[in-house]
Amino acid sequence: MTSVLDDLRSELGTRLLQVVQKNPRRAYVKLSDADLPAAAKFLLGRGGRLATISGIDTRNGVELLYHFAFAPEHVMVTLKTLLPKPLPRTASLAGWLPAANWSEREIHDLLGVTFADHPDPRRLLLADSWPEGVHPLRRDFKGLPDENRGSAAGAVSPAP
């Protein structure tokens, strides 16, 4: 653990805003979204694997967490970055990191984060009838109006 974190520290230095080590196998590193691609690239070169990306809508903005797993060391390092609302936007990693592709599409669907230069920014999870620009996991989401429910009325002729 210490070695991965130490290597990351010596690579990025003061660009790491905050390092929290919850236990010997789990660490959280906070950095600005501009520095995130460099840190991700470094962790990949260090033997890490992007396990997944998660996101949460906080009061201060949308927080993205990039979880990197280091199998030989049994270590997880999470890179955290906070994107300001109402239009959270960051660079896409999917161009050079295929593992990020679907995660970023999912986060765009559910949280409304724009990933600049994503190679394939189509909708991933939400239904085809879901309106554009509405993101169900945002704090201000209060449900869709009833007319948007995808009504089935009149679809079938009555039974004889």
């Binding site: 939400l126 009838s129 169900p136 429910r149 089935a152 679809a155 079938v156 009555p158 039974a159 004889p160």
Partner: protein
């Protein structure tokens, strides 16, 4: 005097299994009903591969926006009259997913919109036991 179409429906109901985003537990129980231990095929209940051959739809899972148009199309293709069975808590009431952004509603509400004359039967349980599914089908057919 019973309508001939209903009489035919009761004799050996062929079922089509409609899995509308279930967790698969209800589907496993339905498989138990069809496979040797309960073996409802001895009563003429047969799983068919197309809704066009079916007398009854066994619907499992909570209905969400993604599957609703597919389900409407399946129901449209089913020969009428047919019985729609809501199998399991999710189909009955959307269960713990009822407040989710993606849920359209419980099956009976949706069926009322699709076809107000539809025959809907309920088999509660999470998942319902195979015995419960058989009992539900028997009760529904008796009530026709």
């Amino acid at each position: 005097m019973m309508k001939p179409s209903l009489w035919g429906l009761k004799k050996s109901p062929w079922v089509y299994h409609v899995a509308l985003s279930p967790c698969n537990n209800c589907d496993i129980e339905i498989l138990d009903v069809l496979t040797p231990r309960f073996d409802v095929e001895r009563f003429g209940v047969k799983l068919v591969g197309s809704p066009r051959h079916a007398d009854a739809l066994l619907v499992t899972g909570s209905i969400n926006r993604h599957v609703l148009p597919r389900f409407v199309e399946l129901y449209r293709q089913t020969a009428k009259p047919c019985v729609v069975f809501a199998v399991g808590s999710c189909a009955l009431s959307s269960s713990m997913f009822r407040d989710s952004y993606n849920i359209v509603g419980p099956l009976d509400k949706v069926m009322k919109e699709i076809d107000p004359a539809a025959i809907v039967a309920y088999v509660p349980g999470c998942p319902p036991k195979p015995e419960a599914i058989i009992a539900g089908v028997v009760k529904a057919l008796k009530a026709l």
